[in-house]
């Protein structure tokens, strides 16, 4: 090969730009397999791109990620970290294999992006989140132009890659064509150069999304939500959809510098980043006192705040208050240890005062290793895992003390070929039963691999078939996978390959854990119930009540809600009663108007029976989970309407 024909690597060409001052022009390359999946549109929400960039920062041993948007306009989005930065070789790899990461491969150590002796760990020893490294490619779903500005410590330059993405009408060859399988194809253009830097000791990577796509901006700015409210006002004369309780303000679509509605946020401008997030969580949970039983982020917060919350749930962050394993025993919480058996029985733990689950069970999962730090700030709000375990709301159920079940499991798959089993699987987990899960988005199970999760809480509990409607809505669970399962994560990191043995194992384990929880919770329930019956005596054994109890038992519900109908004079007690966990309904909005002219004894007896019926209906509706999502007013209206129909008589 002649000297002139010798190929100079992209990395070398970029390095040379320091001298030539002429940027390198390069086409982005990827393989079809990755591209096909990604152009299927696997990422639908902007939160996905942000989540992937946060994961990249974590994998690069960053201690801080700052996300800045000019919300609610969203003309640009910046994600900046103080991680190790990309070397020229790593950047070259990225440009030439966009969508195919070097992490967790033998190239990882060569490119200086993973630990030398362990491709599954970062250089700083963190368990890597990114597997396929398509994080940057996810950005491509939300903009056609982005910058990567990166610097490694000890260097006198920073590297700038300015990436524009190709036209959308590029002809793609048929994806199943064998001959094209290995061929690289291009999808965008990069202009790369290095800039002299005087801040030799600084390091980090910034990804800047310039001009996000219209739909990205529309999504983050909740345009659809506001448009629906406008439409309703126009066609119905009033908005049927409630405005979100908390939002970042509303932009004028035609003049995006102008706000139509000012932001309504739970924090003040002067609040510190952590205080802002604390206030958001407290305010969202607090809606259960004033608005309705259950809080639903989808209707109570705009898309931006939902995005903030989603990121807080998925990123490898500290818990807002405490890791569940670090909770100390106190009167507000009962601890149980889960057994790793199909027909296991959870064991009640009796810890000494102040002793934590971690200590009793020897659990190891922390959010971060001791001495390690990873903080994420989005527009001045510091994110934490918004799951809180103390001061749980009281609810209508008889059993009010939250129950915390925890377990640890390691499966070696001994005797099974590793090629079939995928190697060992180890995890720790907890299931928290609490009368009311706030917000409803926390109902279900979340599986964290490498401390992060791409998927939201799975409300089906990995397809749990037993009819436990009420109880399942009262459980928040997290499984912290310490080893294994990453082979089962799909490309988008938002779902799993259900057929993978590790996933299958987790399904069995979780379903057993749910049964153990159910049994213990029922036991506690019947303790409480027999106490109550003993107190109330036989008068409670009325026919109607027995009927309700029997019917609900068939539905798997054993403790009935306490329902109080308030006379007008006692109506002001409603908020307090609700806070104590009572279904408090205002009598005059629930009972149909009496047609009787005189208050005869018979009429009074009839009215008393109607009240009992109202209570029974409310208890059944509550047990079916039909009341909690309604506003308190709507609860009254619903009971009223059913009662009226039930009480209607055949017209003579």
């Amino acid at each position: 090969m002649s000297k002139t024909a010798k190929t100079i690597s992209l990395a070398e060409q970029i390095r040379d730009t320091a001298r030539t001052k002429k940027p390198v022009e390069a086409e982005l390359k990827t393989d079809k397999r990755v591209l096909a999946r990604i152009t299927d549109g696997i990422y639908r929400q902007p939160a996905s791109a942000l989540r992937e960039l946060i994961s990249n920062a974590y994998d690069a041993d960053a201690t801080e990620v700052v996300i800045l948007t000019d919300a609610p306009r969203f003309s640009a989005i910046t994600v900046r970290d103080d991680g190790l930065g990309l070397s020229l070789d790593a950047l070259q790899h990225l440009i030439e294999h966009i969508g195919g990461s070097a992490k967790r491969t033998k190239y990882g150590a060569d490119l200086d992006v993973t630990a030398e002796d362990d491709p599954t760990r970062s250089k700083g020893g963190r368990q890597l989140i990114g597997k396929l490294g398509i994080g940057l490619f996810s950005v491509a779903q939300f903009t056609r132009h982005f910058l990567i500005i990166t610097k490694t410590r000890g260097t006198k330059f920073r590297t700038v890659a300015d990436i524009t993405l190709g036209a959308v009408d590029e002809e793609l060859e048929p994806l199943n064509s064998d001959e094209s399988e290995d061929r690289d194809i291009t999808k965008g253009h990069a202009r790369i150069w290095v800039e002299r830097a005087t801040d030799i000791e600084s390091q980090g990577t910034e990804v800047k999304l310039l001009d996000p796509l219209p739909r990205t901006r529309a999504e983050l700015a909740s345009f659809d939500l506001w448009a629906r409210i406008d439409f309703e006002k126009e066609t119905e004369g009033k908005a049927l959809t409630r405005e979100p309780v908390f939002h970042i303000g509303r932009m004028n679509r035609d003049r995006p510098d102008e706000l139509i509605s000012k932001p309504r946020l739970p924090w003040m401008e002067k609040d510190k980043p952590k205080a802002r997030f604390e206030k958001l969580v407290a305010a969202v949970r607090g809606l259960a006192k004033t608005e309705k039983d259950l809080v639903d982020l989808d209707s109570d917060c705009d898309r931006y705040l939902q995005t903030l919350w989603t990121l807080a749930l998925s990123a490898p962050l500290e818990y807002l208050e405490s890791h569940p394993f670090d909770l100390a025993a106190n009167s507000d919480l009962r601890f149980y240890q889960l057994e790793n058996k199909t027909k296991g029985q959870a064991k009640r733990l009796q810890p000494k005062h102040g002793e934590s689950l971690r200590k009793i069970l020897g659990l190891k999962t922390p959010c971060l290793k001791r001495g390690d730090r990873f903080e994420v700030f989005m527009d001045g709000v510091q994110l934490f895992r918004p799951i809180v375990f103390m001061n749980q709301p009281k609810t209508q159920n008889a059993v009010k003390t939250p129950l915390l079940f925890a377990g640890h499991c390691r499966e070696e798959f001994t005797g099974k070929p590793i090629s079939l089993s995928g190697g060992p699987l180890e995890f720790e987990a907890y299931l928290l039963w609490t009368p009311k899960v706030l917000p409803t988005q926390h109902q279900g199970v979340m599986i964290r691999v490498g401390n992060a999760s791409g998927a939201p809480f799975d409300r089906t509990f990995m397809g749990y078939q037993v009819s436990e409607q009420t109880r399942l809505r009262q459980i928040t669970a997290e499984i912290f996978v310490r080893e294994g399962l990453d082979g089962a994560i799909n490309l988008d990191r938002e779902s799993f390959n259900y057929a993978h043995p590790h996933y299958q194992f987790l399904v069995k384990w979780l379903h057993s854990a749910l049964r153990q929880l159910t049994n213990r919770q029922k036991e506690v329930g019947s303790e409480v119930r027999s106490d109550r019956l003993a107190r109330e005596g036989v008068k409670a054994h009325r026919k109607l009540e027995r009927l309700v109890e029997k019917q609900l038992k068939d539905h798997g519900v054993e403790d009935l809600a306490e329902v109080v109908l308030l006379d007008p004079i006692r109506q002001s007690e409603a908020p307090d009663l609700r806070d104590q966990g009572v279904v408090a309904l205002r009598k005059r909005f629930v009972l149909p108007e009496s047609q009787a002219v005189r208050q005869t004894a018979k009429e009074q007896e009839r009215a008393a029976f109607m009240e009992r019926k109202a209570v029974a209906i409310a208890q059944i509706l509550h047990a079916w989970g039909l009341l909690e999502s309604l506003s308190f007013q709507d609860q009254e209206k619903l009971v009223h309407d059913i009662l009226e129909v039930a009480a209607a008589e055949v017209e003579q």
């Binding site: 001052k21 000019d70 056609r144 910034e206 510098d257 139509i260």
Partner: protein, 421 residues
């Protein structure tokens, strides 16, 4: 059959094709000249460092804001301030930076001895994906990577003037990042009313800024305004409005009128029909009229607010950007101080003694303003007369540009070529 028009595509496809941004370049601009470095160092940085030392780096909140502008060296910090406190008290800056953020870089350099943290909010119009030559993204990355620059500092896309409207995105961000200790409005346009330019947007924005600051800021703050004064195309009507507070002052305070008369021909303010006689002013006088008028305009904002604020003009500068006809660039500096006084028990029942700060009266402030305007110095002359100073500024300017990615040698070549003149 005619085809219906549709708006369905509006939100699907962008109308702007993304353009690559620019790699380092070596074309130098007027704000790369040596005299601009003088303004940065001797006015902006010097006054800011003084503010930091005097008001921000104190162990306890000072109770007395009444220090005279010229007075110095009081209120020295007591010992070293712990890091945890310094990071909680960053210097908040509102800036209108150029693409390279040179002014912010330069200020950062100046504040290093004070170990002061800084946070900035910038407004820059050349910002979007269709801006081929913008380097603001890279510059912002560089500056926020510097030690002691708060990481949430950012430059927003859009004009600063947008803050005039309370419903603007810009104003929301002003509230988010404020209140500010330093506001540096190095604007490309002109605050000076001319027939080709209506500065009412700027004055609206200044009014809104003052309203916000006076309501929310508790410590003194600095306002730097850089603007052209173009005598050639002055708008009589615009200047008329701006001079209104000055004329009222002349009417109510003969001393002020007399003193002003030593600076500009009094005819300028004393025409019978209340119209300023522009034609009676030479270029030098017009610059002075503008300086006094803008100062008085700010003073009337400050004194009409409650609680009151006091405005003083700090040493300010000018330089020529055009010779025929001469166009001056004015770099004005103002210090705003809250007029806070403690409660006084006039009955004598309380034997608590309180320190009563003394504040200048309206007249005193106005007289000081005239004094400050009189001493506006010509930077071109200064640098020409002082070779040592010139060399010092030249080197500093080269350092700054080099840090921003420019070629040092080419910069010197540019200076020597005479293109910089």
């Amino acid at each position: 059959m005619s085809i219906q028009s549709s708006d369905l595509a509006d939100d699907i496809v962008q109308s702007v094709v993304p353009q690559h941004i620019a790699p380092p370049r070596d074309d130098f601009k007027p704000w790369h000249k040596v005299r601009k470095q003088f303004i940065r160092e001797r006015q902006w940085n010097f006054q800011t460092a003084k503010l930091v030392k005097r008001y921000l780096q104190l162990q306890t909140e000072p109770t007395d804001w009444s220090l005279d502008v010229e007075e110095d060296a009081a209120h020295e910090p007591v010992g070293e301030i712990p890091e945890a406190i310094r990071i909680e008290r960053p210097l908040n800056c509102l800036v209108v930076p150029g693409d390279d953020l040179l002014d912010v870089r330069s200020l950062w350099q100046a504040l290093r001895p004070n170990k002061c943290y800084m946070r900035y909010l910038g407004f820059n119009e050349g910002h979007g994906s269709n801006q081929t030559d913008t380097r603001v993204h890279i510059a912002n990355n560089e500056v926020t990577s510097l030690d002691k620059v708060m990481h949430d500092s950012q430059v927003l896309h859009g004009p600063f003037q947008a803050i005039a409207s309370e419903n603007s995105q810009a104003y929301q961000y002003l509230k988010k990042y404020g209140p500010f200790h330093v506001v540096n409005l190095d604007i490309c346009d002109s605050l000076f009313p001319t027939t080709t330019n209506d500065p009412s947007d700027y004055f609206g924005a200044l009014h809104r800024l003052a309203e916000y600051q006076m309501k929310n800021q508790r410590t003194p703050w600095l306002l730097f305004i850089t603007t052209q004064v173009e005598p050639g195309s002055v708008s009589v009507e615009g200047l008329q409005k701006l001079c209104q507070p000055t004329r009222s002052n002349c009417d109510s305070h003969p001393d002020f009128a007399t003193k002003l008369g030593t600076l500009v021909p009094m005819a300028a303010f004393q025409t019978s029909d209340g119209v300023i006689e522009i034609s009676s002013l030479d270029e030098e006088s017009l610059v002075r009229v503008f300086g006094v008028a803008l100062g008085k305009w700010l003073m009337q904002l400050a004194t009409s607010a409650n609680p009151h604020w006091i405005v003083g003009m700090l040493p300010s500068h000018r330089y020529g950007i055009n010779t025929a006809p001469r166009v001056d660039m004015l770099s004005l500096a103002f210090l705003f101080r809250p007029k806070l006084s403690p409660p006084v028990d006039s009955t004598g029942l309380s034997n608590v003694t309180v320190n009563m700060p003394t504040f200048p009266s309206e007249l005193e402030s106005a007289m000081k303003l005239i004094h400050a305007v009189e001493h506006i110095s010509d930077v071109d002359e200064l640098l020409q007369a002082n070779t040592e100073l010139h060399t010092q500024m030249e080197t500093a300017s080269a350092d700054l540009l080099e840090a921003a990615g420019y070629d040092r040698e080419k910069y010197f070549a540019w200076l020597r070529s005479g293109q910089a003149d």
